[in-house]
Protein backbone atom coordinates (compact mmCIF):
# COMPACT_ATOMS: atom_id res chain seq x y z
CA UNK A 1 0.00 0.00 0.00
CA UNK A 2 1.20 3.50 -0.80
CA UNK A 3 2.13 5.67 2.13
CA UNK A 4 -0.66 7.50 4.00
CA UNK A 5 -3.39 5.52 2.20
CA UNK A 6 -4.95 4.14 5.37
CA UNK A 7 -5.11 7.48 7.10
CA UNK A 8 -6.41 9.20 3.97
CA UNK A 9 -9.11 6.57 3.60
CA UNK A 10 -10.03 6.89 7.25
CA UNK A 11 -10.58 10.59 6.62
CA UNK A 12 -12.60 9.83 3.44
CA UNK A 13 -10.25 11.81 1.18
CA UNK A 14 -11.63 11.21 -2.30
CA UNK A 15 -8.29 11.80 -4.05
CA UNK A 16 -6.56 9.28 -1.78
CA UNK A 17 -5.63 6.70 -4.45
CA UNK A 18 -3.80 9.35 -6.53
CA UNK A 19 -2.11 11.11 -3.65
CA UNK A 20 1.62 11.62 -4.13
CA UNK A 21 3.47 13.22 -1.23
CA UNK A 22 6.30 14.40 -3.52
CA UNK A 23 3.94 16.46 -5.65
CA UNK A 24 3.84 19.95 -4.17
CA UNK A 25 0.50 20.70 -5.80
CA UNK A 26 -1.19 17.64 -4.33
CA UNK A 27 0.21 18.37 -0.88
CA UNK A 28 -1.21 21.90 -1.07
CA UNK A 29 -4.57 20.53 -2.17
CA UNK A 30 -4.59 18.03 0.69
CA UNK A 31 -3.79 20.68 3.29
CA UNK A 32 -6.53 22.97 1.96
CA UNK A 33 -9.00 20.05 2.03
CA UNK A 34 -7.99 18.97 5.54
CA UNK A 35 -8.51 22.49 6.87
CA UNK A 36 -11.79 22.93 5.01
CA UNK A 37 -13.45 19.68 5.97
CA UNK A 38 -11.64 18.08 8.90
CA UNK A 39 -9.49 20.43 10.96
CA UNK A 40 -11.35 23.75 10.63
CA UNK A 41 -8.80 25.77 12.57
CA UNK A 42 -9.63 29.05 10.76
CA UNK A 43 -12.96 30.68 10.32
CA UNK A 44 -14.43 30.13 6.88
CA UNK A 45 -13.53 33.62 5.57
CA UNK A 46 -9.89 33.27 6.69
CA UNK A 47 -9.26 30.15 4.62
CA UNK A 48 -9.09 31.96 1.24
CA UNK A 49 -5.28 32.18 1.00
CA UNK A 50 -4.93 28.49 1.87
CA UNK A 51 -7.52 27.47 -0.71
CA UNK A 52 -5.71 29.36 -3.46
CA UNK A 53 -3.27 26.50 -4.02
CA UNK A 54 -1.93 27.83 -7.35
CA UNK A 55 -0.99 31.25 -6.03
CA UNK A 56 2.59 32.43 -5.33
CA UNK A 57 1.39 33.52 -1.93
CA UNK A 58 0.57 29.93 -0.91
CA UNK A 59 4.00 28.99 0.58
CA UNK A 60 3.77 31.92 3.01
CA UNK A 61 0.17 31.08 3.85
CA UNK A 62 1.11 27.40 4.30
CA UNK A 63 3.93 28.27 6.71
CA UNK A 64 1.63 30.53 8.72
CA UNK A 65 -0.97 27.77 8.85
CA UNK A 66 1.58 25.26 10.20
CA UNK A 67 2.66 27.85 12.78
CA UNK A 68 -0.91 28.46 13.83
CA UNK A 69 -1.78 24.80 14.10
CA UNK A 70 1.37 24.16 16.16
CA UNK A 71 3.14 21.75 13.82
CA UNK A 72 6.58 21.14 15.40
CA UNK A 73 9.61 22.48 13.49
CA UNK A 74 11.39 19.17 13.03
CA UNK A 75 8.41 17.51 11.35
CA UNK A 76 8.26 20.30 8.79
CA UNK A 77 11.70 19.49 7.45
CA UNK A 78 10.25 17.19 4.79
CA UNK A 79 6.88 16.80 3.16
CA UNK A 80 6.27 13.20 4.31
CA UNK A 81 6.79 13.93 8.01
CA UNK A 82 4.78 17.14 7.82
CA UNK A 83 1.90 15.45 5.97
CA UNK A 84 1.98 12.56 8.42
CA UNK A 85 1.74 14.93 11.37
CA UNK A 86 -1.20 16.78 9.82
CA UNK A 87 -2.99 13.51 9.01
CA UNK A 88 -2.51 12.23 12.56
CA UNK A 89 -3.82 15.51 13.90
CA UNK A 90 -6.87 15.29 11.65
CA UNK A 91 -7.52 11.65 12.56
CA UNK A 92 -7.34 12.52 16.26
CA UNK A 93 -9.81 15.36 15.86
CA UNK A 94 -12.11 13.16 13.83
CA UNK A 95 -11.92 10.39 16.45
CA UNK A 96 -12.66 12.80 19.28
CA UNK A 97 -15.63 14.18 17.34
CA UNK A 98 -17.12 10.79 16.63
CA UNK A 99 -16.47 9.63 20.14
CA UNK A 100 -18.37 12.56 21.57
CA UNK A 101 -21.29 11.92 19.25
CA UNK A 102 -21.47 8.23 20.04
CA UNK A 103 -21.24 8.85 23.77
CA UNK A 104 -24.15 11.25 23.56
CA UNK A 105 -26.02 8.75 21.47
CA UNK A 106 -25.46 5.95 23.94
CA UNK A 107 -26.49 8.15 26.85
CA UNK A 108 -29.60 9.00 24.87
CA UNK A 109 -30.34 5.33 24.13
CA UNK A 110 -29.90 4.33 27.73
CA UNK A 111 -32.07 7.20 28.83
CA UNK A 112 -34.67 6.45 26.22
CA UNK A 113 -35.27 2.80 26.97
CA UNK A 114 -34.83 3.47 30.68
CA UNK A 115 -33.10 0.14 31.15
CA UNK A 116 -31.14 -0.76 34.24
CA UNK A 117 -28.03 -0.73 32.09
CA UNK A 118 -27.35 2.85 33.20
CA UNK A 119 -25.12 1.74 36.03
CA UNK A 120 -23.06 -0.44 33.73
CA UNK A 121 -22.26 2.21 31.12
CA UNK A 122 -18.69 1.39 30.10
CA UNK A 123 -16.15 4.05 30.99
CA UNK A 124 -14.75 5.78 27.96
CA UNK A 125 -10.99 5.75 28.64
CA UNK A 126 -11.03 2.01 29.29
CA UNK A 127 -12.89 1.44 26.06
CA UNK A 128 -10.42 3.48 24.06
CA UNK A 129 -7.84 0.84 24.77
CA UNK A 130 -10.01 -1.62 22.81
CA UNK A 131 -10.89 0.89 20.07
CA UNK A 132 -14.52 0.22 20.78
CA UNK A 133 -17.09 3.04 20.79
CA UNK A 134 -19.13 2.96 23.97
CA UNK A 135 -22.39 2.78 22.05
CA UNK A 136 -21.35 -0.55 20.59
CA UNK A 137 -21.28 -2.26 23.97
CA UNK A 138 -24.67 -0.82 24.84
CA UNK A 139 -26.17 -2.40 21.76
CA UNK A 140 -28.21 -5.40 22.84
CA UNK A 141 -27.29 -7.38 19.74
CA UNK A 142 -23.58 -6.86 20.41
CA UNK A 143 -24.01 -7.78 24.05
CA UNK A 144 -25.81 -10.90 23.06
CA UNK A 145 -22.93 -11.92 20.82
CA UNK A 146 -20.43 -11.03 23.52
CA UNK A 147 -22.32 -13.12 26.07
CA UNK A 148 -22.34 -15.97 23.56
CA UNK A 149 -18.58 -15.78 23.11
CA UNK A 150 -18.11 -15.64 26.88
CA UNK A 151 -20.31 -18.68 27.35
CA UNK A 152 -18.39 -20.56 24.66
CA UNK A 153 -15.16 -19.70 26.49
CA UNK A 154 -16.72 -20.86 29.76
CA UNK A 155 -16.37 -17.47 31.40
CA UNK A 156 -18.76 -16.72 34.25
CA UNK A 157 -21.60 -14.35 33.29
CA UNK A 158 -21.46 -10.72 34.43
CA UNK A 159 -23.68 -7.68 34.02
CA UNK A 160 -20.79 -5.43 33.14
CA UNK A 161 -20.12 -5.73 29.39
CA UNK A 162 -16.74 -3.96 29.66
CA UNK A 163 -15.54 -6.42 32.28
CA UNK A 164 -16.69 -9.24 30.08
CA UNK A 165 -14.92 -7.77 27.08
CA UNK A 166 -11.73 -7.48 29.12
CA UNK A 167 -11.98 -11.07 30.28
CA UNK A 168 -12.67 -12.33 26.76
CA UNK A 169 -9.80 -10.40 25.27
CA UNK A 170 -7.38 -11.48 28.03
CA UNK A 171 -8.35 -15.11 27.52
CA UNK A 172 -8.10 -14.85 23.74
CA UNK A 173 -4.68 -13.21 23.94
CA UNK A 174 -3.48 -15.71 26.50
CA UNK A 175 -4.88 -18.95 25.15
CA UNK A 176 -5.99 -18.42 21.54
CA UNK A 177 -3.16 -16.36 20.09
CA UNK A 178 -1.33 -18.11 17.23
CA UNK A 179 1.56 -18.89 19.59
CA UNK A 180 -0.71 -20.33 22.29
CA UNK A 181 -2.62 -22.41 19.75
CA UNK A 182 0.62 -23.75 18.25
CA UNK A 183 1.76 -24.63 21.76
CA UNK A 184 -1.48 -26.42 22.53
CA UNK A 185 -1.26 -28.42 19.31
CA UNK A 186 2.32 -29.49 19.91
CA UNK A 187 2.95 -32.96 21.34
CA UNK A 188 2.25 -33.32 25.09
CA UNK A 189 5.92 -33.76 26.05
CA UNK A 190 6.80 -30.41 24.50
CA UNK A 191 3.99 -28.56 26.21
CA UNK A 192 4.36 -30.06 29.67
CA UNK A 193 5.98 -26.82 30.71
CA UNK A 194 2.88 -24.71 30.10
CA UNK A 195 0.45 -27.11 31.68
CA UNK A 196 2.53 -27.25 34.83
CA UNK A 197 2.49 -23.52 35.04
CA UNK A 198 -1.20 -23.35 35.68
CA UNK A 199 -1.98 -23.97 39.33
CA UNK A 200 -4.99 -25.87 40.52
CA UNK A 201 -6.40 -23.87 43.40
CA UNK A 202 -7.29 -27.11 45.13
CA UNK A 203 -3.59 -27.73 45.62
CA UNK A 204 -2.79 -24.29 46.99
CA UNK A 205 -2.52 -24.51 50.78
CA UNK A 206 -4.35 -21.73 52.61
CA UNK A 207 -3.30 -22.52 56.18
CA UNK A 208 -6.71 -21.68 57.62
CA UNK A 209 -10.33 -22.19 56.74
CA UNK A 210 -13.36 -19.91 56.91
CA UNK A 211 -15.69 -22.90 56.47
CA UNK A 212 -16.93 -21.23 53.31
CA UNK A 213 -15.50 -22.81 50.17
CA UNK A 214 -16.00 -19.69 48.05
CA UNK A 215 -14.39 -17.41 50.62
CA UNK A 216 -11.47 -19.81 50.99
CA UNK A 217 -10.99 -19.76 47.25
CA UNK A 218 -11.06 -15.98 47.18
CA UNK A 219 -8.49 -15.92 50.00
CA UNK A 220 -6.26 -18.24 48.00
CA UNK A 221 -6.51 -16.01 44.94
CA UNK A 222 -5.73 -12.92 47.02
CA UNK A 223 -2.75 -14.70 48.51
CA UNK A 224 -1.41 -15.68 45.09
CA UNK A 225 -1.83 -12.11 43.86
CA UNK A 226 -0.06 -10.89 46.99
CA UNK A 227 2.80 -13.31 46.40
CA UNK A 228 3.01 -12.03 42.84
CA UNK A 229 3.29 -8.47 44.10
CA UNK A 230 5.91 -9.39 46.67
CA UNK A 231 7.88 -11.12 43.94
CA UNK A 232 7.84 -7.95 41.85
CA UNK A 233 8.96 -5.91 44.85
CA UNK A 234 11.78 -8.34 45.62
CA UNK A 235 12.89 -8.23 41.99
CA UNK A 236 13.15 -4.46 42.06
CA UNK A 237 14.98 -4.63 45.40
CA UNK A 238 17.42 -7.04 43.79
CA UNK A 239 17.91 -4.68 40.86
CA UNK A 240 18.71 -1.92 43.32
CA UNK A 241 21.20 -4.14 45.18
CA UNK A 242 22.89 -5.02 41.90
CA UNK A 243 23.26 -1.35 40.98
CA UNK A 244 24.77 -0.61 44.39
CA UNK A 245 27.10 -3.58 43.98
CA UNK A 246 28.40 -1.77 40.91
CA UNK A 247 29.88 0.77 43.37
CA UNK A 248 30.90 -1.42 46.31
CA UNK A 249 31.76 -4.88 45.04
CA UNK A 250 35.38 -5.84 44.61
CA UNK A 251 35.70 -9.56 45.31
CA UNK A 252 39.27 -10.78 45.63
CA UNK A 253 41.03 -14.08 45.93
CA UNK A 254 44.65 -14.75 46.72
CA UNK A 255 45.67 -18.34 46.14
CA UNK A 256 48.89 -17.84 48.13
CA UNK A 257 46.72 -17.61 51.27
CA UNK A 258 45.22 -21.05 50.75
CA UNK A 259 46.35 -24.00 52.83
CA UNK A 260 45.04 -27.53 52.73
CA UNK A 261 44.51 -29.10 56.14
CA UNK A 262 44.74 -32.64 57.40
Amino acid sequence: MRPFQRKLQALDYVRAPAFNVDDEHEVRQLIAWLEDTRIRLYKLEDRALLRDVKSDTWPAAGQKYLDDIGCPGETRASNPTMVDWLLNHAVNLEYADQHETSDKASAATAGADGSSAMDTTPDAPALQAYHVPASLLMDTAVRKVLNGIAAALQLPPTDNPLELLRAVSALVEDRLSPAAVAEAQSPPEARAATILDSIDLKHVPLGFSTNDALLDEAAKILRLLHIGELRKLQTSVNELIVSVQGLTADPKTDSSLGAVGK
Binding site: I241, V244, K252, D254, L257, G261, K262
Partner: protein, 385 residues
Protein backbone atom coordinates in the same frame (compact mmCIF):
# COMPACT_ATOMS: atom_id res chain seq x y z
CA UNK B 1 16.54 -25.21 68.54
CA UNK B 2 17.63 -27.92 66.19
CA UNK B 3 20.71 -30.05 66.48
CA UNK B 4 22.82 -32.03 64.05
CA UNK B 5 26.15 -32.64 65.67
CA UNK B 6 28.67 -35.40 66.09
CA UNK B 7 27.68 -37.77 68.89
CA UNK B 8 29.66 -38.23 72.06
CA UNK B 9 29.40 -40.45 75.09
CA UNK B 10 27.48 -39.39 78.11
CA UNK B 11 26.98 -40.46 81.66
CA UNK B 12 23.86 -42.46 82.29
CA UNK B 13 20.95 -40.63 83.77
CA UNK B 14 17.51 -41.31 85.06
CA UNK B 15 15.87 -44.39 86.38
CA UNK B 16 17.10 -47.95 85.78
CA UNK B 17 14.38 -50.26 84.51
CA UNK B 18 14.17 -53.41 82.47
CA UNK B 19 13.80 -53.00 78.71
CA UNK B 20 10.20 -54.23 78.95
CA UNK B 21 9.38 -51.63 81.59
CA UNK B 22 11.06 -48.89 79.54
CA UNK B 23 8.93 -49.83 76.55
CA UNK B 24 5.74 -49.21 78.53
CA UNK B 25 6.52 -45.51 78.32
CA UNK B 26 6.78 -45.57 74.55
CA UNK B 27 3.55 -45.72 72.63
CA UNK B 28 2.98 -46.11 68.93
CA UNK B 29 0.79 -43.30 67.53
CA UNK B 30 0.98 -44.18 63.84
CA UNK B 31 3.14 -46.47 61.68
CA UNK B 32 5.82 -43.76 61.70
CA UNK B 33 5.27 -41.89 64.95
CA UNK B 34 5.95 -42.78 68.59
CA UNK B 35 5.10 -40.94 71.79
CA UNK B 36 7.39 -40.91 74.84
CA UNK B 37 5.21 -40.50 77.90
CA UNK B 38 6.06 -38.37 80.91
CA UNK B 39 7.89 -40.31 83.61
CA UNK B 40 10.27 -42.03 81.19
CA UNK B 41 12.99 -39.87 82.77
CA UNK B 42 12.89 -37.49 85.75
CA UNK B 43 11.12 -34.19 85.59
CA UNK B 44 9.59 -34.43 82.12
CA UNK B 45 7.50 -31.30 81.61
CA UNK B 46 6.02 -32.43 78.30
CA UNK B 47 5.82 -35.60 76.22
CA UNK B 48 8.43 -36.52 73.68
CA UNK B 49 7.80 -37.87 70.23
CA UNK B 50 9.79 -39.16 67.30
CA UNK B 51 9.21 -40.03 63.67
CA UNK B 52 10.90 -43.09 62.16
CA UNK B 53 10.58 -45.64 59.40
CA UNK B 54 10.87 -49.39 60.05
CA UNK B 55 14.66 -49.39 59.70
CA UNK B 56 15.24 -46.46 62.05
CA UNK B 57 12.67 -47.82 64.47
CA UNK B 58 14.71 -51.00 64.95
CA UNK B 59 17.87 -49.00 65.56
CA UNK B 60 16.13 -46.81 68.12
CA UNK B 61 14.82 -49.74 70.14
CA UNK B 62 18.09 -51.72 69.82
CA UNK B 63 19.86 -48.73 71.34
CA UNK B 64 17.43 -48.67 74.23
CA UNK B 65 17.72 -52.42 74.80
CA UNK B 66 21.52 -52.25 74.94
CA UNK B 67 21.27 -49.37 77.39
CA UNK B 68 18.92 -51.35 79.64
CA UNK B 69 20.99 -54.53 79.40
CA UNK B 70 24.16 -52.69 80.41
CA UNK B 71 22.19 -51.06 83.21
CA UNK B 72 23.16 -47.65 81.91
CA UNK B 73 26.90 -48.14 82.23
CA UNK B 74 29.13 -47.03 79.34
CA UNK B 75 28.20 -46.38 75.75
CA UNK B 76 25.89 -43.74 74.32
CA UNK B 77 22.83 -42.42 75.99
CA UNK B 78 20.13 -43.67 73.60
CA UNK B 79 18.33 -41.08 71.49
CA UNK B 80 14.96 -41.83 73.14
CA UNK B 81 16.47 -40.96 76.52
CA UNK B 82 17.96 -37.77 75.09
CA UNK B 83 14.62 -36.70 73.64
CA UNK B 84 13.07 -37.29 77.07
CA UNK B 85 15.84 -35.37 78.86
CA UNK B 86 15.18 -32.40 76.58
CA UNK B 87 11.48 -32.68 77.47
CA UNK B 88 12.59 -32.13 81.08
CA UNK B 89 14.27 -28.76 80.37
CA UNK B 90 12.63 -25.71 81.99
CA UNK B 91 10.30 -23.67 79.77
CA UNK B 92 9.80 -26.27 77.05
CA UNK B 93 6.59 -25.90 75.07
CA UNK B 94 4.58 -28.53 73.19
CA UNK B 95 6.78 -31.57 72.83
CA UNK B 96 10.42 -32.57 72.45
CA UNK B 97 10.51 -33.84 68.88
CA UNK B 98 12.84 -36.29 67.15
CA UNK B 99 12.86 -35.76 63.39
CA UNK B 100 13.47 -38.69 61.02
CA UNK B 101 17.27 -38.26 61.14
CA UNK B 102 17.15 -38.99 64.87
CA UNK B 103 20.21 -40.51 66.54
CA UNK B 104 22.23 -40.07 69.67
CA UNK B 105 24.06 -36.74 69.98
CA UNK B 106 25.61 -34.33 72.48
CA UNK B 107 22.95 -33.67 75.15
CA UNK B 108 20.28 -33.20 72.55
CA UNK B 109 19.81 -36.09 70.11
CA UNK B 110 20.71 -35.31 66.50
CA UNK B 111 17.53 -34.17 64.78
CA UNK B 112 16.04 -33.28 68.17
CA UNK B 113 13.92 -30.15 68.05
CA UNK B 114 12.40 -28.20 70.92
CA UNK B 115 10.75 -24.83 71.49
CA UNK B 116 10.97 -22.70 74.62
CA UNK B 117 8.65 -19.91 75.69
CA UNK B 118 10.52 -16.59 75.52
CA UNK B 119 8.16 -15.05 78.07
CA UNK B 120 8.65 -17.78 80.68
CA UNK B 121 11.38 -16.43 83.01
CA UNK B 122 12.50 -20.01 83.72
CA UNK B 123 12.88 -20.96 80.04
CA UNK B 124 16.38 -21.86 78.95
CA UNK B 125 18.63 -21.83 75.92
CA UNK B 126 21.14 -24.65 75.51
CA UNK B 127 24.18 -24.59 73.24
CA UNK B 128 23.84 -28.38 72.98
CA UNK B 129 20.47 -27.81 71.32
CA UNK B 130 22.08 -25.73 68.62
CA UNK B 131 25.17 -27.87 68.32
CA UNK B 132 28.86 -27.06 68.15
CA UNK B 133 28.95 -26.24 64.47
CA UNK B 134 26.60 -23.28 64.73
CA UNK B 135 24.43 -22.79 61.62
CA UNK B 136 25.89 -25.79 59.93
CA UNK B 137 23.78 -26.20 56.84
CA UNK B 138 23.36 -27.49 53.35
CA UNK B 139 23.28 -25.36 50.23
CA UNK B 140 22.33 -26.51 46.75
CA UNK B 141 23.51 -24.66 43.65
CA UNK B 142 22.24 -25.55 40.21
CA UNK B 143 23.92 -25.40 36.80
CA UNK B 144 22.55 -25.77 33.30
CA UNK B 145 25.19 -28.43 32.58
CA UNK B 146 24.46 -32.12 32.19
CA UNK B 147 26.37 -35.20 33.28
CA UNK B 148 27.52 -35.67 29.67
CA UNK B 149 29.13 -32.25 29.54
CA UNK B 150 30.79 -32.56 32.93
CA UNK B 151 31.97 -36.18 32.54
CA UNK B 152 34.94 -35.52 30.27
CA UNK B 153 36.35 -32.76 32.54
CA UNK B 154 35.57 -34.41 35.89
CA UNK B 155 39.18 -34.55 37.02
CA UNK B 156 40.01 -30.97 36.06
CA UNK B 157 36.82 -29.75 37.70
CA UNK B 158 37.52 -31.59 40.96
CA UNK B 159 41.06 -30.21 40.97
CA UNK B 160 39.79 -26.66 40.32
CA UNK B 161 37.39 -27.02 43.25
CA UNK B 162 40.17 -28.27 45.53
CA UNK B 163 42.32 -25.32 44.42
CA UNK B 164 39.56 -22.85 45.24
CA UNK B 165 38.13 -24.42 48.39
CA UNK B 166 40.77 -25.79 50.76
CA UNK B 167 39.59 -28.73 52.88
CA UNK B 168 40.59 -30.47 56.09
CA UNK B 169 41.36 -29.61 59.69
CA UNK B 170 43.42 -26.41 59.85
CA UNK B 171 42.83 -25.45 56.21
CA UNK B 172 43.01 -21.77 55.23
CA UNK B 173 40.88 -19.96 52.67
CA UNK B 174 41.90 -17.95 49.59
CA UNK B 175 39.72 -14.91 50.33
CA UNK B 176 41.83 -12.17 51.92
CA UNK B 177 40.27 -11.10 55.24
CA UNK B 178 41.28 -8.58 57.87
CA UNK B 179 39.99 -8.56 61.44
CA UNK B 180 37.92 -5.52 60.46
CA UNK B 181 36.35 -7.45 57.54
CA UNK B 182 35.55 -10.32 59.89
CA UNK B 183 33.83 -8.06 62.43
CA UNK B 184 31.66 -6.65 59.63
CA UNK B 185 30.87 -10.12 58.28
CA UNK B 186 29.82 -11.31 61.76
CA UNK B 187 27.45 -8.40 62.06
CA UNK B 188 26.09 -8.32 58.50
CA UNK B 189 26.05 -11.95 57.40
CA UNK B 190 25.30 -12.33 53.70
CA UNK B 191 24.76 -8.59 53.35
CA UNK B 192 28.52 -8.36 53.76
CA UNK B 193 29.01 -10.95 51.00
CA UNK B 194 26.67 -8.93 48.79
CA UNK B 195 28.38 -5.64 49.47
CA UNK B 196 31.79 -7.08 48.73
CA UNK B 197 30.54 -8.83 45.60
CA UNK B 198 30.92 -12.44 46.74
CA UNK B 199 27.20 -13.15 46.42
CA UNK B 200 24.34 -12.51 44.01
CA UNK B 201 21.36 -10.47 45.10
CA UNK B 202 19.02 -13.44 44.57
CA UNK B 203 21.12 -15.76 46.77
CA UNK B 204 19.77 -14.20 49.95
CA UNK B 205 16.18 -15.04 49.06
CA UNK B 206 16.92 -18.73 49.25
CA UNK B 207 18.48 -18.66 52.72
CA UNK B 208 16.81 -18.88 56.11
CA UNK B 209 16.57 -15.43 57.71
CA UNK B 210 17.74 -13.99 54.37
CA UNK B 211 21.26 -14.98 55.38
CA UNK B 212 21.51 -12.55 58.27
CA UNK B 213 20.52 -12.72 61.92
CA UNK B 214 19.84 -9.19 63.09
CA UNK B 215 20.56 -9.80 66.78
CA UNK B 216 24.17 -10.75 65.98
CA UNK B 217 26.72 -8.97 68.13
CA UNK B 218 30.38 -9.46 67.20
CA UNK B 219 31.37 -8.19 70.65
CA UNK B 220 29.86 -11.39 72.10
CA UNK B 221 32.33 -13.50 70.10
CA UNK B 222 35.63 -14.03 71.91
CA UNK B 223 38.95 -12.97 70.42
CA UNK B 224 39.95 -16.60 70.44
CA UNK B 225 36.93 -17.53 68.32
CA UNK B 226 37.63 -14.69 65.90
CA UNK B 227 41.26 -15.70 65.54
CA UNK B 228 40.18 -19.23 64.70
CA UNK B 229 37.62 -18.02 62.16
CA UNK B 230 39.70 -15.36 60.41
CA UNK B 231 41.80 -17.55 58.10
CA UNK B 232 39.10 -20.21 57.67
CA UNK B 233 36.54 -18.27 55.64
CA UNK B 234 35.84 -20.08 52.39
CA UNK B 235 36.99 -23.47 53.66
CA UNK B 236 34.92 -26.61 54.12
CA UNK B 237 36.38 -28.09 57.26
CA UNK B 238 36.43 -31.78 58.02
CA UNK B 239 34.15 -34.49 59.36
CA UNK B 240 30.95 -34.98 57.39
CA UNK B 241 31.34 -31.68 55.54
CA UNK B 242 31.59 -31.73 51.77
CA UNK B 243 31.31 -29.91 48.50
CA UNK B 244 29.86 -32.38 46.03
CA UNK B 245 29.11 -32.26 42.35
CA UNK B 246 25.81 -34.09 42.11
CA UNK B 247 23.62 -35.33 39.29
CA UNK B 248 19.82 -35.24 39.26
CA UNK B 249 18.75 -38.90 39.35
CA UNK B 250 15.01 -38.65 39.58
CA UNK B 251 12.41 -35.86 39.52
CA UNK B 252 9.47 -36.63 41.80
CA UNK B 253 7.60 -33.32 41.65
CA UNK B 254 8.12 -31.83 38.20
CA UNK B 255 6.33 -28.59 39.02
CA UNK B 256 8.36 -27.82 42.14
CA UNK B 257 11.57 -28.94 40.47
CA UNK B 258 11.01 -26.68 37.51
CA UNK B 259 10.40 -23.71 39.79
CA UNK B 260 13.79 -24.48 41.32
CA UNK B 261 15.40 -24.55 37.88
CA UNK B 262 15.72 -28.33 37.77
CA UNK B 263 14.23 -29.49 34.50
CA UNK B 264 15.98 -32.67 33.44
CA UNK B 265 17.49 -35.88 34.73
CA UNK B 266 21.25 -35.78 34.46
CA UNK B 267 21.35 -32.07 35.34
CA UNK B 268 24.43 -31.18 37.40
CA UNK B 269 24.12 -29.48 40.79
CA UNK B 270 26.58 -28.66 43.53
CA UNK B 271 25.85 -29.29 47.18
CA UNK B 272 27.83 -27.63 49.94
CA UNK B 273 27.58 -28.87 53.54
CA UNK B 274 29.52 -26.72 55.94
CA UNK B 275 29.12 -24.38 58.89
CA UNK B 276 30.85 -21.81 61.03
CA UNK B 277 34.14 -23.71 61.33
CA UNK B 278 36.34 -23.07 64.36
CA UNK B 279 34.63 -19.80 65.13
CA UNK B 280 31.23 -21.40 65.85
CA UNK B 281 32.82 -24.23 67.81
CA UNK B 282 34.66 -21.74 70.00
CA UNK B 283 31.48 -19.70 70.62
CA UNK B 284 29.71 -22.87 71.81
CA UNK B 285 32.64 -23.98 74.00
CA UNK B 286 33.00 -20.52 75.56
CA UNK B 287 29.31 -20.43 76.41
CA UNK B 288 29.28 -23.91 77.98
CA UNK B 289 31.88 -22.72 80.47
CA UNK B 290 29.93 -19.61 81.45
CA UNK B 291 26.64 -21.52 81.52
CA UNK B 292 27.83 -24.12 84.01
CA UNK B 293 28.37 -21.28 86.47
CA UNK B 294 25.00 -19.75 85.65
CA UNK B 295 23.27 -23.10 86.24
CA UNK B 296 24.70 -23.31 89.76
CA UNK B 297 23.77 -19.68 90.44
CA UNK B 298 20.18 -20.00 89.17
CA UNK B 299 19.66 -23.54 90.46
CA UNK B 300 18.82 -25.02 87.09
CA UNK B 301 18.58 -28.81 87.16
CA UNK B 302 19.07 -30.98 84.09
CA UNK B 303 19.21 -34.75 83.65
CA UNK B 304 22.43 -34.73 81.62
CA UNK B 305 25.52 -32.62 82.16
CA UNK B 306 25.76 -32.21 78.39
CA UNK B 307 22.52 -30.23 78.48
CA UNK B 308 24.29 -27.22 80.00
CA UNK B 309 22.02 -24.22 79.59
CA UNK B 310 21.13 -20.79 80.90
CA UNK B 311 17.88 -18.87 81.22
CA UNK B 312 17.07 -17.10 77.97
CA UNK B 313 16.72 -13.76 79.73
CA UNK B 314 19.92 -14.15 81.81
CA UNK B 315 23.16 -12.39 80.90
CA UNK B 316 24.70 -15.71 79.83
CA UNK B 317 21.65 -16.66 77.76
CA UNK B 318 21.60 -13.35 75.91
CA UNK B 319 25.37 -13.40 75.51
CA UNK B 320 25.13 -16.82 73.90
CA UNK B 321 22.21 -15.94 71.61
CA UNK B 322 23.97 -12.84 70.28
CA UNK B 323 27.25 -14.67 69.81
CA UNK B 324 25.44 -17.61 68.20
CA UNK B 325 23.75 -15.21 65.76
CA UNK B 326 27.16 -13.77 64.83
CA UNK B 327 28.52 -17.28 64.30
CA UNK B 328 25.43 -18.08 62.21
CA UNK B 329 26.21 -15.03 60.07
CA UNK B 330 29.77 -16.30 59.68
CA UNK B 331 28.42 -19.64 58.44
CA UNK B 332 26.29 -17.92 55.78
CA UNK B 333 29.22 -15.81 54.68
CA UNK B 334 31.31 -18.99 54.59
CA UNK B 335 28.82 -20.84 52.39
CA UNK B 336 28.44 -17.73 50.21
CA UNK B 337 32.20 -17.50 49.82
CA UNK B 338 32.34 -21.17 48.81
CA UNK B 339 29.50 -20.53 46.37
CA UNK B 340 31.54 -17.70 44.87
CA UNK B 341 34.61 -19.94 44.63
CA UNK B 342 32.57 -22.79 43.12
CA UNK B 343 31.15 -20.40 40.53
CA UNK B 344 34.68 -19.29 39.69
CA UNK B 345 35.94 -22.86 39.39
CA UNK B 346 33.10 -23.85 37.04
CA UNK B 347 33.48 -20.67 34.98
CA UNK B 348 37.19 -21.41 34.56
CA UNK B 349 36.76 -25.04 33.49
CA UNK B 350 33.83 -24.38 31.15
CA UNK B 351 35.30 -21.13 29.86
CA UNK B 352 32.06 -19.34 30.58
CA UNK B 353 30.52 -17.11 33.24
CA UNK B 354 28.59 -18.24 36.32
CA UNK B 355 25.61 -16.30 34.91
CA UNK B 356 25.68 -18.19 31.65
CA UNK B 357 26.01 -21.45 33.57
CA UNK B 358 22.86 -20.41 35.49
CA UNK B 359 24.58 -21.10 38.82
CA UNK B 360 21.79 -19.96 41.11
CA UNK B 361 21.38 -20.98 44.73
CA UNK B 362 18.32 -23.25 45.02
CA UNK B 363 18.26 -23.43 48.80
CA UNK B 364 20.36 -22.93 51.90
CA UNK B 365 18.97 -24.79 54.91
CA UNK B 366 20.40 -24.48 58.40
CA UNK B 367 20.20 -27.49 60.69
CA UNK B 368 22.05 -26.16 63.73
CA UNK B 369 20.36 -22.99 64.78
CA UNK B 370 18.12 -21.34 67.35
CA UNK B 371 15.60 -18.82 66.07
CA UNK B 372 12.89 -16.71 67.61
CA UNK B 373 9.53 -17.42 66.00
CA UNK B 374 5.92 -16.72 66.80
CA UNK B 375 3.52 -19.65 66.92
CA UNK B 376 0.08 -20.48 68.17
CA UNK B 377 0.37 -22.75 71.23
CA UNK B 378 -2.89 -24.06 72.69
CA UNK B 379 -4.71 -21.24 70.93
CA UNK B 380 -2.38 -18.53 72.22
CA UNK B 381 0.26 -16.64 70.26
CA UNK B 382 3.63 -17.23 71.89
CA UNK B 383 7.12 -16.06 71.11
CA UNK B 384 9.27 -19.19 71.02
CA UNK B 385 12.93 -19.92 70.73
Amino acid sequence: MLSDDMPSTSAASGILRSYEDECKYIERVSPTQFRIKKGFVHNMKVDGCFYVNQHLQELMFDELQQFSDSRGVGGFLPAVKQIANVAALPGIVGRSIGLPDIHSGYGFAIGNMAAFDMNDPEAIVSPGGVGFDINCGVRLIRTNLTEKEVGPVKEELAQALFDHIPVGVGSKGVIPMTMHNLEEALEMGMDWSLREGYAWAEDKEHCEEYGRMLQANPAMVSQRAKKRGLPQLGTLGAGNHYCEIQVVDEIYDAHAARKMGIDQKGQVCIMVHSGSRGLGHQVATDSLVSMEKAMRRDGIEVNDRQLACARIQSKEGQHYLQGMAAAANYAWVNRSSMTFLTRQAFAKIFNSTPDDLDMHVIYDVSHNIAKVEEHMVDGKLKQLE
